[in-house]
């Protein structure tokens, strides 16, 4: 099958959504002639025109509100934040309006919008351009939150998100944009709310998100050589969480680790751990639940410090080994 980068897969999904539905349009900063800070929209403005690929003034709160209003009035806006960090300026419209309007109005409206958030560290952009804030939005009823980890997933989940009648937040790790993978050409959907078993294993269950899925798979391969058989679950959706798939896996492996880039405290791993600790799978646990998350600090500029601030393969290998060997 032909291969695309993660960024190209997003672009293809956006194009196919605009082809299929005239109410879909894109908005954001420098997504037009510039092609987007990460070249995701690329030349879409030339193919679909400035009315459907709209460069907006640098007004994140306003843009989010415009997306809400347009969605209420019959459009399906797809808003690109240039960096997920700038969502901090738009939380009012995202959380008080987009997430709650349907509920507050007694189900009389829906808010079919998509917001895309380039997230994560590793680019040397320092503390204000490297955050992983997905846990915030996963805490908010009314939103759906996805974090696709492969080119094929991001195309299928983004198309599902654009179809969705409710607001969907898409977190895209910047280091994934250049990652290549096989992507079917025709439009297809991957269900929001379903986790994916990326690797089957018997000894320990790893629930990972986004780029940590790949680091966890690398760690699994290394541990395989040591005779440790790791099951890796790609969570894919942070709200709603597919708890059932994780419970089934933990019942099988009796061990659970969560690997994520967001700050460890109150990051998504906290919720996964708590869901298992309160579930019937609790009785199957043979060891404490391990969390490998981001450091309790902002992301530093210095490249070595930056790497040390988020989980890396050697640390994952060591953590899982100790968990399985009972050295926690």
């Amino acid at each position: 099958m032909r291969e695309l980068t993660y960024a190209q897969a997003i672009q293809e999904a956006l194009a196919q959504a605009m082809d299929a539905d005239p109410t879909v349009f894109l908005m954001g900063e420098d997504i037009g002639v510039y092609g987007g800070a990460f070249q995701v929209t690329g030349d879409l403005v030339h193919r679909y025109g400035e009315d459907r690929v709209m460069d907006a003034p640098i007004s994140e709160l306003g843009q989010a509100g415009v997306a809400v209003g347009a969605a209420l009035a019959g459009c399906r806006p797809v808003l690109e934040f240039q960096f997920s960090d700038f969502a901090t300026l738009a939380m009012e419209q995202i959380v008080n309006q987009a997430a709650k309007l349907r509920f507050m109005l007694g189900g009389k409206v829906n808010v079919p919008l998509v917001m895309r958030f380039p997230a994560g560290s590793g680019t040397g952009a320092a503390a204000q351009h490297s955050q992983s804030l997905e846990a915030w939005l996963a805490h908010v009823p009314g939103l759906k939150v996805i974090q696709p980890s492969t080119p094929a997933d991001v195309k299928g989940m983004l198309l599902a998100a654009i179809d969705d009648p409710d607001p969907v937040m898409v977190f895209e790790h910047k280091l994934l944009y250049k990652m290549k993978g096989e992507v079917p050409e025709e439009p297809y959907r991957i269900a929001i709310g379903k986790a994916h078993v990326a690797r089957e294993g018997r000894d320990v269950t790893v629930v990972a998100t986004s780029i940590m899925v790949h680091k966890s798979l690398e760690a699994a391969t290394i541990l395989d050589a040591e005779g440790i058989d790791v099951e890796v679950i790609d969570l894919r959706t942070l709200r709603p969480i597919d708890t059932a798939t994780i419970i089934d896996s933990v019942k099988k492996t009796s061990r659970l680790a969560c690997v994520y880039e967001g700050v460890k405290t109150l990051g998504i791993g906290a919720e996964i751990s708590a869901r298992i600790a309160e579930s019937e799978a609790f009785d199957y646990l043979d060891a404490p639940i391990l969390r490998l998350g981001g450091a309790e600090s902002p992301i530093p500029y210095n490249p070595e410090l930056e790497k040390a601030a988020v989980p890396q393969v050697p640390g994952i290998v060591e953590g899982l080994r100790n968990l399985v060997r009972g050295r926690m």
């Binding site: 709160l61 306003g62 989010a64 509100g65 809400v68 209003g69 009035a73 007694g106 409206v109």
Partner: protein, 338 residues
């Protein structure tokens, strides 16, 4: 719309372009709002309604004047002080009361209450609990209108205090840059809660801020329905012609406190009395009668009918259906599975 025969030609355009029936209906709506607010206030004090509410008594002129020339397919975004906008746009008081009483029959099925009152069927996209929250939403609705090639407009109500929010700046700028059909209606009642405009902005009028967005800024007497309607009509026409947004400021006053907990420590009794003397309703009644567009008997009948409708509405609301407490998560998502 033809003017009725007997009116003198020197009367201002407002009285020329609307028929006597239309003008009397406007008066009826002003009364509906006034009585609605009084009824809500009383129900609240009798403990029938909980939470808080923000009454628009004294501001009926701008609420009705601004919405008079709107179509059902035009949108409005409203504020925490939105009961008048809602009625002006055509909502039924009884369904609004049902909402205040937290009943299934309410516009929001009892989930929203006063601060989220909305009648989507008449184009009201909702009140808002967030000061300034409706501004960019109205701009987005106007963007959709433009994309759909409709000649409708989005009218955005907000207060003087809201004009100090960043959302105001971002919304007006985007509406201007994209030449969207928005009518920004600022009801300047001199205070943002307890803080006067003198203490919260360094310009005399909110309309003075329009120039920063290259859009017209118009000042009207918010207590004169005629003055408001004429300015708004021009702004609406401009928007429908695709010439972009206008900022219309309505100078008005809320004679009640900001909300139920207000002790009016920040303003004088004299100021309140002074504005009560400029009540928009008697003012409009007098002009209607002076122009021979309504008789005293008709005015009294209108008043009575409004009172009757409000009383019936409260009764309807009291007898409404309570939501099932097990349905807390209903309507969080369109697909309940989620």
């Amino acid at each position: 719309m033809n003017a009725v025969g007997k009116i003198k030609p020197n009367a201002r355009p407002f009285y020329q372009k609307y028929s006597a029936d239309q003008l009397k209906d406007a008066l009826r709506k002003m009364y509906l709002i006034r009585r609605f607010e009084e009824g809500a206030e009383e129900a609240y004090m009798r403990g029938l309604i909980h939470g808080t509410m923000h009454l628009s008594i004294g501001q009926e002129g701008s609420a009705v004047g601004a919405t008079m020339a709107l179509r059902n397919t035009d949108y409005i975004t409203s504020t925490h002080r939105g009961h008048g906008h809602c009625i002006g746009k055509g909502a039924e008081p009884k369904l609004m009361f049902a909402e205040f009483f937290g009943k299934e029959e309410g516009y929001c099925r009892g989930r929203g209450g006063s601060m989220h009152i909305a009648d989507v069927s008449t184009g009201n996209l909702g009140a808002n609990g967030i000061v300034g929250g409706g501004l960019p939403i109205a701009v987005g609705a106007a963007l959709a209108i433009k994309k759909q090639k409709r000649d409708d407009v989005a009218m955005c109500f907000f207060g003087d205090g809201a004009s100090n929010e960043g959302a105001f700046h971002e919304a007006l700028n985007m509406a201007a840059v994209w030449k969207l059909p928005v009518v920004f209606v600022c009801e300047n009642n001199k205070y943002g809660m307890s803080v006067s405009t003198e203490r919260s902005m360094a310009v005399a009028n909110v309309a003075d801020r329009a120039s920063a967005y290259g859009m017209p800024g118009v000042i009207t007497d918010g207590n004169s329905i005629a003055d408001v309607e004429e300015a708004i009509a021009e702004a609406i026409a401009r928007a429908r012609r695709g010439e972009g947004p206008t900022l219309v400021e309505c100078k008005t006053y809320r004679t009640r406190g900001h909300s139920r907990s207000d002790r009016n420590r920040y303003r004088t009794k004299e100021e309140i009395e002074e504005w009560k003397a400029r009540d928009p309703i008697p003012h409009f009644e007098a002009e209607l009668m002076a122009h021979g567009l309504a008789t005293e008997a008709e005015v009294i009948a209108i008043r009575k009918s409004a009172e009757a409708e409000i009383a019936a509405g409260i009764e309807f609301a009291r007898l409404g259906t309570d939501p099932n407490p097990n349905e807390v998560t209903r309507d969080v998502y369109s697909n309940e599975a989620a």
